[in-house]
Symmetry: C2
Protein backbone atom coordinates (compact mmCIF):
# COMPACT_ATOMS: atom_id res chain seq x y z
CA UNK A 1 0.00 0.00 0.00
CA UNK A 2 0.92 3.64 -0.25
CA UNK A 3 3.41 2.84 -2.88
CA UNK A 4 3.12 6.03 -4.83
CA UNK A 5 1.53 9.31 -5.43
CA UNK A 6 -0.60 7.78 -8.13
CA UNK A 7 -4.11 8.54 -9.19
CA UNK A 8 -5.75 6.41 -6.54
CA UNK A 9 -4.45 8.71 -3.87
CA UNK A 10 -6.68 11.42 -5.25
CA UNK A 11 -9.90 9.62 -5.95
CA UNK A 12 -12.78 11.57 -4.44
CA UNK A 13 -13.34 9.58 -1.27
CA UNK A 14 -15.14 11.16 1.60
CA UNK A 15 -14.59 9.75 5.08
CA UNK A 16 -17.26 10.17 7.70
CA UNK A 17 -18.11 8.88 11.14
CA UNK A 18 -21.53 7.69 12.26
CA UNK A 19 -22.54 7.19 15.87
CA UNK A 20 -25.07 4.80 17.31
CA UNK A 21 -25.40 6.40 20.74
CA UNK A 22 -27.36 4.24 23.12
CA UNK A 23 -28.71 4.98 26.55
CA UNK A 24 -31.36 3.75 28.95
CA UNK A 25 -34.37 5.91 29.81
CA UNK A 26 -37.18 4.69 31.95
CA UNK A 27 -36.08 1.14 31.58
CA UNK A 28 -36.00 1.14 27.79
CA UNK A 29 -33.15 1.29 25.33
CA UNK A 30 -33.02 4.57 23.47
CA UNK A 31 -30.92 5.75 20.58
CA UNK A 32 -29.87 9.28 19.75
CA UNK A 33 -31.17 10.41 16.36
CA UNK A 34 -30.96 13.64 14.43
CA UNK A 35 -33.30 15.04 11.83
CA UNK A 36 -31.38 15.86 8.71
CA UNK A 37 -31.45 19.49 7.73
CA UNK A 38 -29.79 18.98 4.35
CA UNK A 39 -30.28 16.89 1.27
CA UNK A 40 -30.18 14.04 0.71
CA UNK A 41 -32.70 12.54 3.10
CA UNK A 42 -33.65 16.02 4.30
CA UNK A 43 -36.27 15.68 7.00
CA UNK A 44 -35.46 12.04 7.59
CA UNK A 45 -34.00 10.75 10.79
CA UNK A 46 -30.46 9.48 10.89
CA UNK A 47 -27.60 8.67 13.21
CA UNK A 48 -25.47 11.66 14.13
CA UNK A 49 -22.16 11.89 12.36
CA UNK A 50 -20.20 13.84 9.82
CA UNK A 51 -17.04 14.32 7.87
CA UNK A 52 -13.59 13.80 9.25
CA UNK A 53 -11.50 16.92 9.51
CA UNK A 54 -8.00 16.77 8.09
CA UNK A 55 -6.27 16.74 11.43
CA UNK A 56 -8.37 14.41 13.50
CA UNK A 57 -8.79 10.70 13.98
CA UNK A 58 -12.14 8.99 13.60
CA UNK A 59 -12.48 8.85 17.39
CA UNK A 60 -11.88 12.58 17.70
CA UNK A 61 -14.29 13.32 14.88
CA UNK A 62 -16.93 11.18 16.55
CA UNK A 63 -16.77 13.19 19.76
CA UNK A 64 -16.79 16.49 17.87
CA UNK A 65 -19.78 15.57 15.74
CA UNK A 66 -21.67 14.37 18.76
CA UNK A 67 -21.12 17.73 20.41
CA UNK A 68 -21.94 19.73 17.29
CA UNK A 69 -25.04 17.92 16.18
CA UNK A 70 -26.63 17.03 19.48
CA UNK A 71 -25.11 19.36 22.02
CA UNK A 72 -23.73 16.48 24.04
CA UNK A 73 -20.31 17.93 24.75
CA UNK A 74 -17.94 16.79 27.47
CA UNK A 75 -20.33 14.04 28.40
CA UNK A 76 -18.88 12.21 31.34
CA UNK A 77 -18.94 8.47 31.11
CA UNK A 78 -19.26 8.35 27.35
CA UNK A 79 -17.98 5.02 26.10
CA UNK A 80 -16.94 5.08 22.45
CA UNK A 81 -16.19 1.91 20.59
CA UNK A 82 -15.43 1.40 16.95
CA UNK A 83 -18.02 -0.84 15.39
CA UNK A 84 -16.91 -1.34 11.83
CA UNK A 85 -16.45 0.58 8.61
CA UNK A 86 -19.12 0.67 5.95
CA UNK A 87 -17.67 1.14 2.51
CA UNK A 88 -20.12 -0.29 -0.01
CA UNK A 89 -20.33 1.81 -3.14
CA UNK A 90 -23.73 3.41 -3.43
CA UNK A 91 -24.46 3.77 0.26
CA UNK A 92 -24.57 7.52 -0.36
CA UNK A 93 -26.47 8.63 -3.44
CA UNK A 94 -24.05 11.39 -4.33
CA UNK A 95 -20.53 10.12 -4.00
CA UNK A 96 -18.23 7.54 -2.46
CA UNK A 97 -18.49 7.82 1.26
CA UNK A 98 -16.60 5.51 3.57
CA UNK A 99 -18.01 5.68 7.05
CA UNK A 100 -16.38 4.58 10.28
CA UNK A 101 -19.24 3.63 12.58
CA UNK A 102 -19.09 3.79 16.36
CA UNK A 103 -21.22 2.37 19.08
CA UNK A 104 -21.46 4.75 22.01
CA UNK A 105 -22.88 4.09 25.47
CA UNK A 106 -24.08 6.80 27.78
CA UNK A 107 -25.30 6.52 31.40
CA UNK A 108 -27.81 9.22 32.20
CA UNK A 109 -29.34 10.83 29.18
CA UNK A 110 -29.07 14.59 28.95
CA UNK A 111 -31.56 16.17 26.59
CA UNK A 112 -29.94 16.84 23.23
CA UNK A 113 -30.63 19.76 20.94
CA UNK A 114 -30.09 20.03 17.21
CA UNK A 115 -27.09 21.93 15.93
CA UNK A 116 -24.71 22.11 13.05
CA UNK A 117 -26.27 20.25 10.19
CA UNK A 118 -28.92 18.61 12.32
CA UNK A 119 -32.31 20.29 12.40
CA UNK A 120 -33.24 18.45 15.55
CA UNK A 121 -31.83 15.83 17.91
CA UNK A 122 -33.85 13.49 20.07
CA UNK A 123 -33.71 10.31 22.13
CA UNK A 124 -35.88 7.72 20.42
CA UNK A 125 -36.88 4.33 21.84
CA UNK A 126 -34.83 1.69 20.08
CA UNK A 127 -37.89 -0.18 18.86
CA UNK A 128 -39.41 2.93 17.38
CA UNK A 129 -36.27 4.08 15.54
CA UNK A 130 -38.12 3.80 12.27
CA UNK A 131 -36.50 3.63 8.87
CA UNK A 132 -33.40 5.75 8.97
CA UNK A 133 -31.48 7.49 6.24
CA UNK A 134 -28.73 5.74 4.30
CA UNK A 135 -27.80 2.33 5.73
CA UNK A 136 -28.21 3.56 9.28
CA UNK A 137 -30.80 0.94 10.15
CA UNK A 138 -28.18 -1.67 9.65
CA UNK A 139 -25.52 0.24 11.55
CA UNK A 140 -27.90 0.61 14.46
CA UNK A 141 -28.77 -3.08 14.43
CA UNK A 142 -25.08 -3.99 14.29
CA UNK A 143 -24.40 -1.73 17.24
CA UNK A 144 -27.13 -3.32 19.32
CA UNK A 145 -25.92 -6.80 18.52
CA UNK A 146 -22.32 -5.88 19.32
CA UNK A 147 -23.23 -4.30 22.62
CA UNK A 148 -25.35 -7.28 23.60
CA UNK A 149 -22.52 -9.65 22.77
CA UNK A 150 -19.93 -7.63 24.65
CA UNK A 151 -22.12 -7.65 27.74
CA UNK A 152 -21.38 -11.36 28.00
CA UNK A 153 -17.64 -11.16 28.42
CA UNK A 154 -16.80 -7.56 29.32
CA UNK A 155 -17.73 -5.06 32.00
CA UNK A 156 -19.25 -2.79 29.37
CA UNK A 157 -22.63 -2.72 31.08
CA UNK A 158 -21.39 -0.27 33.69
CA UNK A 159 -21.06 2.28 30.88
CA UNK A 160 -24.86 2.54 30.95
CA UNK A 161 -24.84 3.29 34.67
CA UNK A 162 -24.18 6.54 36.48
CA UNK A 163 -20.96 6.76 38.51
CA UNK A 164 -22.72 5.17 41.50
CA UNK A 165 -25.35 2.53 41.01
CA UNK A 166 -27.03 -0.42 42.68
CA UNK A 167 -26.86 -4.01 41.60
CA UNK A 168 -30.54 -3.88 40.77
CA UNK A 169 -29.86 -1.06 38.34
CA UNK A 170 -27.00 -2.96 36.77
CA UNK A 171 -29.24 -5.96 36.39
CA UNK A 172 -31.88 -3.84 34.68
CA UNK A 173 -29.23 -2.74 32.21
CA UNK A 174 -28.55 -6.35 31.29
CA UNK A 175 -32.21 -7.23 31.13
CA UNK A 176 -33.06 -4.28 28.93
CA UNK A 177 -30.25 -4.80 26.46
CA UNK A 178 -30.70 -8.55 26.29
CA UNK A 179 -34.45 -8.49 26.48
CA UNK A 180 -34.52 -11.31 29.00
CA UNK A 181 -35.13 -11.61 32.71
CA UNK A 182 -32.31 -12.69 34.99
CA UNK A 183 -32.37 -14.33 38.39
CA UNK A 184 -31.51 -11.66 40.92
CA UNK A 185 -29.65 -13.74 43.50
CA UNK A 186 -27.56 -15.42 40.86
CA UNK A 187 -26.83 -12.21 39.01
CA UNK A 188 -25.72 -10.64 42.24
CA UNK A 189 -23.35 -13.47 43.12
CA UNK A 190 -21.94 -13.57 39.63
CA UNK A 191 -21.14 -9.89 39.56
CA UNK A 192 -19.64 -9.83 43.03
CA UNK A 193 -17.59 -12.94 42.32
CA UNK A 194 -15.86 -11.26 39.41
CA UNK A 195 -12.99 -9.26 40.90
CA UNK A 196 -12.87 -5.73 39.57
CA UNK A 197 -16.32 -5.70 38.01
CA UNK A 198 -17.81 -3.47 40.68
CA UNK A 199 -16.52 -2.14 43.98
CA UNK A 200 -18.67 -1.24 46.94
CA UNK A 201 -19.05 2.36 48.05
CA UNK A 202 -18.50 1.96 51.78
CA UNK A 203 -21.31 3.54 53.72
CA UNK A 204 -23.71 4.30 50.93
CA UNK A 205 -27.22 2.97 50.40
CA UNK A 206 -30.04 4.24 48.31
CA UNK A 207 -33.72 3.66 47.85
CA UNK A 208 -34.54 2.69 44.32
CA UNK A 209 -38.22 2.06 43.77
CA UNK A 210 -39.54 4.34 46.48
CA UNK A 211 -40.29 1.30 48.55
CA UNK A 212 -38.18 -1.57 49.69
CA UNK A 213 -34.89 -2.02 51.43
CA UNK A 214 -32.22 0.52 50.52
CA UNK A 215 -29.71 -1.00 48.15
CA UNK A 216 -25.96 -0.96 48.55
CA UNK A 217 -24.19 1.37 46.16
CA UNK A 218 -21.35 0.36 43.87
CA UNK A 219 -18.90 1.95 41.48
CA UNK A 220 -17.51 0.50 38.27
CA UNK A 221 -14.35 -1.45 38.99
CA UNK A 222 -11.10 -1.55 37.13
CA UNK A 223 -11.61 -4.82 35.28
CA UNK A 224 -12.62 -4.77 31.66
CA UNK A 225 -12.96 -8.47 30.87
CA UNK A 226 -15.30 -10.95 32.51
CA UNK A 227 -13.84 -14.36 33.30
CA UNK A 228 -15.80 -16.52 33.26
CA UNK A 229 -18.33 -14.78 31.05
CA UNK A 230 -21.91 -13.98 31.97
CA UNK A 231 -23.80 -15.77 29.23
CA UNK A 232 -27.29 -14.69 28.27
CA UNK A 233 -29.83 -17.41 28.76
CA UNK A 234 -31.67 -19.43 26.11
CA UNK A 235 -30.30 -18.84 22.58
CA UNK A 236 -29.82 -22.15 20.84
CA UNK A 237 -27.84 -23.42 23.80
CA UNK A 238 -29.39 -26.68 24.87
CA UNK A 239 -32.14 -27.45 22.37
CA UNK A 240 -29.80 -29.25 19.99
Amino acid sequence: MLQGYDKYAHEPFAVTVDLAVLTLREGALHVLLVERGQEPYRGHWALPGGFLHPDESAETAARRELAEETGLADVSGLHLEQLRTYSEPGRDPRMRVVSVAFAALLPDAPEPHGGGDAAEARWVPYDKAGPLAFDHDRILADAHERVGAKFEYTCLATAFCPPEFTLGELQQVYETVWGTALDRPNFRRKVLATPGFVEAVPGAARLTGGRGKPAAVYRAGTATALHPPLLRPSREGRPA
Copy 2:
Protein backbone atom coordinates in the same frame (compact mmCIF):
# COMPACT_ATOMS: atom_id res chain seq x y z
CA MET B 1 -23.49 13.65 7.98
CA LEU B 2 -23.33 14.27 4.28
CA GLN B 3 -25.17 17.46 4.75
CA GLY B 4 -23.64 19.30 1.86
CA TYR B 5 -21.22 19.46 -0.93
CA ASP B 6 -18.95 21.51 1.24
CA LYS B 7 -15.22 21.65 1.49
CA TYR B 8 -14.90 18.65 3.79
CA ALA B 9 -16.20 16.44 1.05
CA HIS B 10 -13.07 17.20 -0.92
CA GLU B 11 -10.37 17.01 1.66
CA PRO B 12 -7.55 14.86 0.36
CA PHE B 13 -8.26 11.62 2.20
CA ALA B 14 -6.88 8.40 0.88
CA VAL B 15 -8.59 5.16 1.85
CA THR B 16 -6.63 1.94 1.92
CA VAL B 17 -7.00 -1.62 3.12
CA ASP B 18 -4.38 -3.57 5.04
CA LEU B 19 -4.45 -7.32 5.51
CA ALA B 20 -3.05 -9.37 8.34
CA VAL B 21 -3.17 -12.75 6.62
CA LEU B 22 -2.48 -15.58 9.03
CA THR B 23 -1.87 -19.24 8.39
CA LEU B 24 -0.32 -22.24 10.06
CA ARG B 25 2.83 -23.80 8.67
CA GLU B 26 4.63 -26.60 10.40
CA GLY B 27 2.75 -25.98 13.57
CA ALA B 28 3.63 -22.32 13.82
CA LEU B 29 1.60 -19.20 13.16
CA HIS B 30 2.79 -17.35 10.08
CA VAL B 31 1.84 -14.00 8.62
CA LEU B 32 1.98 -12.91 5.00
CA LEU B 33 4.32 -9.97 4.49
CA VAL B 34 5.43 -8.01 1.45
CA GLU B 35 8.62 -6.10 0.87
CA ARG B 36 7.79 -2.58 -0.18
CA GLY B 37 9.06 -1.61 -3.61
CA GLN B 38 8.21 2.07 -3.26
CA GLU B 39 8.87 4.89 -0.88
CA PRO B 40 8.18 5.42 1.89
CA TYR B 41 9.56 2.48 3.79
CA ARG B 42 11.04 1.11 0.58
CA GLY B 43 12.74 -2.19 1.34
CA HIS B 44 10.88 -2.56 4.62
CA TRP B 45 8.40 -5.31 5.26
CA ALA B 46 4.75 -4.50 5.61
CA LEU B 47 1.30 -6.02 5.53
CA PRO B 48 -0.14 -6.35 2.04
CA GLY B 49 -2.74 -3.80 1.10
CA GLY B 50 -3.45 -0.81 -1.06
CA PHE B 51 -5.82 1.87 -2.17
CA LEU B 52 -9.52 1.40 -2.61
CA HIS B 53 -10.76 1.74 -6.17
CA PRO B 54 -13.72 4.01 -6.77
CA ASP B 55 -16.17 1.20 -7.42
CA GLU B 56 -15.29 -1.37 -4.78
CA SER B 57 -15.97 -1.97 -1.13
CA ALA B 58 -13.18 -2.48 1.37
CA GLU B 59 -13.81 -6.24 1.31
CA THR B 60 -13.49 -6.35 -2.46
CA ALA B 61 -10.37 -4.23 -2.39
CA ALA B 62 -8.85 -6.52 0.22
CA ARG B 63 -9.27 -9.57 -2.00
CA ARG B 64 -7.95 -7.73 -5.04
CA GLU B 65 -4.88 -6.42 -3.26
CA LEU B 66 -4.14 -9.83 -1.87
CA ALA B 67 -4.20 -11.26 -5.36
CA GLU B 68 -2.16 -8.43 -6.88
CA GLU B 69 0.55 -8.17 -4.28
CA THR B 70 1.00 -11.76 -3.25
CA GLY B 71 -0.44 -13.84 -6.08
CA LEU B 72 -2.96 -15.46 -3.77
CA ALA B 73 -5.97 -15.26 -6.07
CA ASP B 74 -9.13 -17.31 -5.77
CA VAL B 75 -7.84 -18.83 -2.58
CA SER B 76 -10.40 -21.32 -1.37
CA GLY B 77 -11.25 -21.12 2.28
CA LEU B 78 -10.04 -17.57 2.73
CA HIS B 79 -11.79 -16.06 5.72
CA LEU B 80 -11.85 -12.27 5.68
CA GLU B 81 -12.89 -10.29 8.70
CA GLN B 82 -12.86 -6.60 9.27
CA LEU B 83 -10.61 -5.75 12.19
CA ARG B 84 -10.91 -2.03 12.65
CA THR B 85 -10.07 1.20 10.92
CA TYR B 86 -6.89 3.09 11.68
CA SER B 87 -7.28 6.78 11.12
CA GLU B 88 -4.76 8.58 13.31
CA PRO B 89 -3.23 11.57 11.55
CA GLY B 90 0.42 10.97 10.86
CA ARG B 91 0.26 7.23 10.42
CA ASP B 92 1.48 7.84 6.87
CA PRO B 93 4.34 10.33 6.49
CA ARG B 94 2.97 11.81 3.27
CA MET B 95 -0.72 12.41 3.67
CA ARG B 96 -3.90 11.51 5.45
CA VAL B 97 -4.49 7.84 4.98
CA VAL B 98 -7.42 6.07 6.57
CA SER B 99 -6.90 2.34 6.49
CA VAL B 100 -9.50 -0.36 6.92
CA ALA B 101 -7.64 -3.33 8.38
CA PHE B 102 -8.67 -6.94 7.91
CA ALA B 103 -7.72 -10.12 9.61
CA ALA B 104 -7.60 -13.00 7.15
CA LEU B 105 -7.29 -16.70 7.88
CA LEU B 106 -6.03 -19.22 5.41
CA PRO B 107 -5.88 -23.00 5.72
CA ASP B 108 -3.02 -24.43 3.71
CA ALA B 109 -0.42 -21.90 2.73
CA PRO B 110 0.32 -21.57 -0.97
CA GLU B 111 3.64 -19.89 -1.73
CA PRO B 112 3.12 -16.23 -2.52
CA HIS B 113 5.07 -14.17 -5.02
CA GLY B 114 5.55 -10.44 -5.13
CA GLY B 115 3.56 -8.41 -7.62
CA GLY B 116 2.08 -5.02 -8.16
CA ASP B 117 3.74 -2.66 -5.77
CA ALA B 118 5.31 -5.42 -3.69
CA ALA B 119 8.89 -6.34 -4.48
CA GLU B 120 8.51 -9.66 -2.71
CA ALA B 121 5.94 -11.60 -0.70
CA ARG B 122 6.69 -14.21 1.91
CA TRP B 123 5.26 -16.19 4.81
CA VAL B 124 7.03 -15.10 7.97
CA PRO B 125 6.74 -16.76 11.38
CA TYR B 126 4.58 -14.57 13.57
CA ASP B 127 7.25 -14.18 16.21
CA LYS B 128 9.84 -13.10 13.68
CA ALA B 129 7.66 -10.53 11.94
CA GLY B 130 10.10 -7.84 12.94
CA PRO B 131 9.40 -4.13 12.92
CA LEU B 132 7.01 -3.42 10.09
CA ALA B 133 6.33 -0.29 8.12
CA PHE B 134 3.79 2.29 9.29
CA ASP B 135 1.69 1.10 12.24
CA HIS B 136 1.51 -2.42 10.89
CA ASP B 137 3.06 -3.95 14.00
CA ARG B 138 0.05 -2.80 15.92
CA ILE B 139 -2.40 -3.95 13.28
CA LEU B 140 -0.79 -7.37 13.30
CA ALA B 141 -0.93 -7.60 17.07
CA ASP B 142 -4.56 -6.52 17.06
CA ALA B 143 -5.35 -9.18 14.48
CA HIS B 144 -3.72 -11.89 16.55
CA GLU B 145 -5.56 -10.83 19.66
CA ARG B 146 -8.88 -10.67 17.82
CA VAL B 147 -8.44 -14.09 16.27
CA GLY B 148 -7.47 -15.60 19.60
CA ALA B 149 -10.52 -14.07 21.26
CA LYS B 150 -12.89 -15.20 18.52
CA PHE B 151 -11.63 -18.76 18.88
CA GLU B 152 -13.34 -18.83 22.24
CA TYR B 153 -16.87 -18.26 21.10
CA THR B 154 -16.95 -18.91 17.35
CA CYS B 155 -16.10 -21.73 14.96
CA LEU B 156 -13.44 -19.56 13.34
CA ALA B 157 -10.69 -22.10 14.00
CA THR B 158 -11.86 -24.28 11.13
CA ALA B 159 -10.81 -21.46 8.78
CA PHE B 160 -7.21 -22.52 9.49
CA CYS B 161 -7.97 -26.09 8.49
CA PRO B 162 -8.19 -27.66 5.04
CA PRO B 163 -11.65 -28.81 3.90
CA GLU B 164 -11.16 -32.13 5.65
CA PHE B 165 -9.26 -32.36 8.89
CA THR B 166 -8.86 -34.42 12.03
CA LEU B 167 -9.68 -33.34 15.55
CA GLY B 168 -6.00 -33.49 16.36
CA GLU B 169 -5.31 -30.95 13.66
CA LEU B 170 -8.08 -28.71 14.89
CA GLN B 171 -6.67 -28.93 18.38
CA GLN B 172 -3.23 -27.94 17.11
CA VAL B 173 -4.81 -24.87 15.56
CA TYR B 174 -6.16 -23.84 18.94
CA GLU B 175 -2.92 -24.62 20.72
CA THR B 176 -0.83 -22.70 18.24
CA VAL B 177 -2.98 -19.59 18.21
CA TRP B 178 -3.47 -19.56 21.97
CA GLY B 179 0.02 -20.71 22.82
CA THR B 180 -1.29 -23.18 25.38
CA ALA B 181 -1.70 -26.93 25.55
CA LEU B 182 -5.18 -28.42 25.73
CA ASP B 183 -6.37 -31.73 27.09
CA ARG B 184 -7.13 -33.94 24.11
CA PRO B 185 -10.03 -35.97 25.50
CA ASN B 186 -11.78 -32.88 26.81
CA PHE B 187 -11.17 -30.90 23.66
CA ARG B 188 -12.61 -33.73 21.63
CA ARG B 189 -15.75 -33.97 23.71
CA LYS B 190 -16.24 -30.24 23.72
CA VAL B 191 -16.03 -29.96 19.95
CA LEU B 192 -18.27 -32.92 19.27
CA ALA B 193 -20.81 -31.74 21.82
CA THR B 194 -21.28 -28.46 19.95
CA PRO B 195 -23.81 -29.14 17.22
CA GLY B 196 -22.71 -27.80 13.85
CA PHE B 197 -19.08 -27.17 14.80
CA VAL B 198 -17.75 -30.13 12.83
CA GLU B 199 -19.45 -32.98 10.99
CA ALA B 200 -17.92 -36.39 10.45
CA VAL B 201 -16.90 -37.53 7.00
CA PRO B 202 -18.46 -40.99 6.98
CA GLY B 203 -15.90 -43.59 6.01
CA ALA B 204 -12.76 -41.51 6.11
CA ALA B 205 -9.73 -41.91 8.30
CA ARG B 206 -6.25 -40.63 7.93
CA LEU B 207 -2.84 -41.13 9.49
CA THR B 208 -1.46 -37.94 10.88
CA GLY B 209 1.95 -38.37 12.45
CA GLY B 210 3.12 -41.31 10.40
CA ARG B 211 2.50 -43.54 13.38
CA GLY B 212 -0.50 -44.09 15.52
CA LYS B 213 -4.11 -44.92 15.01
CA PRO B 214 -5.73 -43.31 11.95
CA ALA B 215 -7.89 -40.38 12.92
CA ALA B 216 -11.47 -39.83 11.88
CA VAL B 217 -11.92 -37.04 9.37
CA TYR B 218 -14.27 -34.10 9.79
CA ARG B 219 -15.54 -31.16 7.82
CA ALA B 220 -16.43 -27.71 9.10
CA GLY B 221 -20.06 -27.60 10.14
CA THR B 222 -22.66 -24.95 9.57
CA ALA B 223 -22.56 -23.33 12.98
CA THR B 224 -20.71 -20.08 13.45
CA ALA B 225 -21.15 -19.43 17.15
CA LEU B 226 -20.02 -21.62 20.03
CA HIS B 227 -22.45 -22.01 22.91
CA PRO B 228 -21.19 -22.50 25.47
CA PRO B 229 -17.81 -21.01 24.57
CA LEU B 230 -14.49 -22.81 24.61
CA LEU B 231 -12.50 -20.66 27.01
CA ARG B 232 -8.73 -20.63 26.88
CA PRO B 233 -7.15 -21.73 30.13
CA SER B 234 -5.33 -19.64 32.70
CA ARG B 235 -5.63 -15.91 32.11
CA GLU B 236 -6.52 -14.13 35.33
CA GLY B 237 -9.39 -16.51 35.84
CA ARG B 238 -9.07 -17.96 39.29
CA PRO B 239 -6.12 -16.22 41.00
CA ALA B 240 -8.29 -13.42 42.34
